[in-house]
């Protein structure tokens, strides 16, 4: 690659308004220097908030960091600015594939294909979505060392590797796939979550739940209701209960509809107690 970080950094320093931040951010992303890449992308977005490629760059960095919710928002913004941005279309296809929404993944790929029918990565991605080919290294516009597309291969989860779920929820019902302990930022501390089809959605669900605790607290405060003790929700084929084992953690319990909400709450309290003890041991 002709560009190097030093050269591009110097160029950007000389002209902060330059679009060279796009190349620099991409280069840093390639090198997996995500903090630096993020700074560069945000620097660019501050100066060029309507530059679709800047949002696309930031989205890819966020996706690399498994911050899928914000990556989704950035790619969504990219498409609002440039509806035919194939990078964003492929990025959103990747996110939909990642969460198992194959119809949406294919629809976004179709959009990209209409614009760039000769892009081999789109054809390859179609084959993967339709189950006709194994996952390629990535659906994202630039090749990654890590096979991001593979839903079978779980993303690196350093915190979970360090703190296996069995240690947190040992002996509790559903410890392997229906209990999830998160920190305030939505990072997984323990547990795991799978769809009824067996797809591991731990990281994605954790990302979506980041901020729930804060919003629940604000809501309770605004209403003068004191602190929040639990949040339960019913879905069409299952239900969840969220509690806060400690002020800086959150526990999610997931069960099918056959489990009454009251029992789910009790199970959540038991799991919260186990989580508190486990967190205490880690300190």
């Amino acid at each position: 690659m002709p560009d190097d970080v030093k050269t591009l950094t110097a160029e950007l320093a000389r002209d902060p308004q330059s679009l060279v931040f796009l190349r620099l951010g991409e280069l840093l992303r390639h090198k997996r220097q995500f903090d630096a890449a993020t700074r560069v992308a945000l620097h660019g977005l501050e100066r060029h908030p309507h530059q679709a490629d800047a949002h696309d760059l930031y989205a890819r960095i966020l996706a690399d960091r498994h911050d899928y919710e914000r990556a989704f928002d950035e790619w969504d913004m990219t498409l609002r600015i440039a509806p035919h941005h194939t990078g964003a279309l492929k990025g959103l296809a990747f996110l939909y594939f990642k969460v198992g929404d194959l119809a949406q993944a294919e629809a976004h790929l179709q959009g990209a294909y209409r614009i760039e029918p000769d892009d081999p990565s789109i054809v390859q991605a179609f084959a993967v979505i339709r189950g006709e080919a194994p996952p390629p290294p990535t659906l994202l516009p630039v090749a990654e060392p890590e096979p991001l597309l593979s839903r079978d291969a779980p993303p690196p989860r350093d915190s979970v590797t360090a703190f296996p779920e069995a240690q947190v929820f040992a002996g509790l019902e559903g410890a392997q796939e229906g209990l999830l302990l998160l920190d305030a930022a939505g990072l997984v501390l323990g547990g795991a979550l799978k769809t009824p089809d067996g797809v591991d959605v731990t990281e994605v669900v954790a990302a979506y739940l980041a901020g729930v605790s804060q919003e629940a607290s604000r809501t309770a405060k605004l209403l003068g209701l004191g602190g929040w003790r639990g949040l339960s929700a019913e879905g069409q084929s299952g239900q969840v209960h969220l509690v806060q084992p400690t002020p800086d953690s959150m526990l999610l319990v997931v069960r099918d509809r056959s489990v009454p909400l009251g029992r789910l709450g009790m199970l959540a309290q038991r799991a919260a107690q186990a989580s508190r003890q486990w967190l205490e041991r880690q300190r």
């Binding site: 089809d197 959605v201 979506y208 209403l223 209701l225 879905g235």
Partner: protein, 117 residues
Amino acid sequence: MSASPFAHALDLITHVRGVRGAMVVARVDGLVVAEQLMEGIKGGAVAALAASLTGRLQRAMVTAGLGPSQFWHLQCDQGALLVVPAADSLLVVAITEPEVNVGLVRLELLRAAEAAG
């Protein structure tokens, strides 16, 4: 009685003992569409947070293969917030005292959601 087309839906909820207020909220932007609230409740801010929480829960639950949320319930020390999605991207929201009959409020929210849709 409010002149809002949602007045009947809100009446269903606020008639339950222990309910401090009810709102119909636009899910997309969290704005209040109609409300029957006791004095002092900050409807606008609560509506925005309810819509945001609904979005987060919705995405998490759909991702987890549980389907879209049909009802959610925030339990607090001194009361609760209960929310049911309705048609046309609306939410029906109830704010309650701690000793309310949650099952009854849930049923009325579901009826109200049907009436509002």
